[in-house]
Symmetry: C2
Subunit: 339 residues, 2 copies
């Protein structure tokens, strides 16, 4: 057990990402130098946006280089330390990447954040993690819903979408969720208390929106893109806001699919389509943690975690996001914290 | 001369609009009743958005009905009046439609506005008309340019685009105009003082944008849509704003063309695409008239008018907008004011 296993990016996918794009390598566990600390990865988070990180194109984060460990956020535990801010045994979160051990090194600018007390590793990466922060700021700051308005959420059973739908409900909006499959729709209705759900696998999305949204959609939080975005645009109310959060339907296309055919409606209905990423709100995280923490403590927000096991299953776990197999926030556990 | 000629909408176009979609009819000139005034049309304005007004689909204005005179803004002169607010001889502007005479009737809610002193009919419909108000509010309120930023304008030699480009220049921005043909490009450079112009007929738009906009476009005022919109999105800077004003490239498509393939960039670059129409700013017209009037008086804004002649040429004059034959704001004169 004195080896560090890593999954490196071996090749850039064109089209669907697969396990063949990653390579398992083994090296010695690094020794923490002065000021550094050694962190053991306990749990990793899997997010649809990771597909974009392996594209060979500058974006809001630099592309993961070939031969580097795949970038991923996670929770770890400090097991050796030459840094008083990172005491041995403490739990931390940050970009731990697909590897069993990493070195925190303040001089290189990378320092993981301590986990708040009473927050478990999985909660830190699920209902209090990046997807919930994305939901919080995207809905409230970009979408700006007003009580009584109609909010449409695609990918509504996903980690981000389900929190969006529930925050919109808590803010007094009428919420319509789009999800795929009976199980996800039932979970939204029963656990998340979102009575109006469209099962896009069984129902015709355009017909359902036409039937339910005669007065128009005020806020559309879109995680899916493609035809779903086009269908939503078609039924927006005047001055509606479209929160452009993700486009999972197209992440694995070899060449990008055509965009919405009805962009003229953006003009005639005076719509606002706005993209954002969670990191833009870094300096306002405290308010999100405060509100999310209160809702979780009060039992007002349901969530679920899909926790896979085992270092060797990391690449295949990522694929679960793109065929919709995951049931809740996709995580993978490498180890239990030691006490 | 006691007949009223009108061009009625005869059929809805599918695809390219043509003279065959309108029908010339002649009826008696109406008599103004109590409170009404009879207005003689002097000049009509032609705008790309008129293609949308004949679509059989509810929009920001109701569709022009089959058998009704085509909707159009214009300038007229009061020739008979039972209304002290509309004295005989006064010049007015408003929706006069494609007809030689119309009745102003305050009880029906429709009253044309008086022309300010020293404003000629053509100026009221060109540099002080709806296209300039669209340019003013679209650029400043939706685009929110900051001095030093890069502003891209498509349809830059058009009535709206040329005023956008010049206001952006007056606000201290770097301006890049896109126009078709040497004559339009020279006019932009020499008269409008926009040194950077891309001639999309001669140059490759994507290559030119890549070459000129390495640091990204902060505001894109788009009048064209389609491939031009896609090319602009490709080179937007982080947090860039796209003012969705028009999409003339697609107005006459029988079925809507696919939208931009690169909508993912809206997310990763945190772009804002926002549609608007000038009427949304109705209660703030005075500030636009004040600023535009000052710029015009100081010779800071160049404009030109393409004035066709003759009632019988009204439908064919509309078509000039869609093949780019118009050189400046498209107008048509029916009569001179009488003194």
């Amino acid at each position: 057990m004195n080896n560090n296993r890593q999954w490196l990016l071996k090749a850039r996918p064109e089209g669907m990402i697969g396990t063949e794009h990653f390579e398992l390598v083994t090296s010695a566990i690094p020794e923490p130098a002065a000021g550094q600390a050694l962190i053991k990865t306990l749990m990793l988070s899997f997010d649809p946006a990771m597909r974009g990180w392996v594209e060979d194109e500058p974006s809001y984060l630099p592309p993961v280089a070939i031969g580097e460990p795949m970038r991923a956020s996670g929770v770890g535990q400090v097991i050796r330390s030459n840094n008083p801010e990172l005491p041995v045994g403490s739990l931390v979160q940050g970009m731990l990447n697909w590897q069993e051990y990493s070195l925190a090194d303040p001089s290189s600018g990378w320092m993981p954040r301590p986990l708040p007390a009473q927050v478990t590793p999985s909660m830190a990466l699920s209902v209090l993690g990046g997807t919930s922060l994305t939901a919080y700021f995207g809905l409230l700051e970009i979408g700006q819903p007003v009580a009584g308005e109609t909010v449409l959420v695609s990918g509504a059973a996903g980690a981000t979408g389900s929190v969006v739908a529930q925050i919109a409900r808590l803010k007094g909006c009428r919420v319509i969720g789009i999800a795929g499959g009976e199980e996800k729709c039932q979970w939204l209705q029963q656990d998340c208390k979102i009575p109006e759900v469209i099962d896009y696998q069984k129902q015709n999305l355009k017909d359902e929106l036409a039937r339910r949204c005669a007065d128009g959609i005020n806020v559309f939080f879109d995680n899916v893109g493609g035809d779903t975005l086009e269908a939503g645009i078609e039924h927006m109310a005047d001055f509606g806001r479209i929160v452009m959060c993700g486009a999972i339907s197209g992440y694995n296309d070899a060449s990008p699919a055509p965009g919405p055919r009805n962009m003229m409606k953006v003009i005639t209905r005076r719509l606002r389509l706005q993209g954002f990423i969670m990191m833009d709100f870094m300096d306002r995280m405290e308010e999100a943690y405060r509100d999310l923490g209160q809702w979780v403590a009060a039992g007002e927000i349901a969530w679920r975690e899909d926790i896979q096991q085992g270092f060797e299953n990391i690449p295949s776990t990522l694929l679960r996001l793109y065929d919709g197999r995951n049931q809740g926030k996709q995580l993978l556990q490498l180890a239990e914290p030691s006490h």
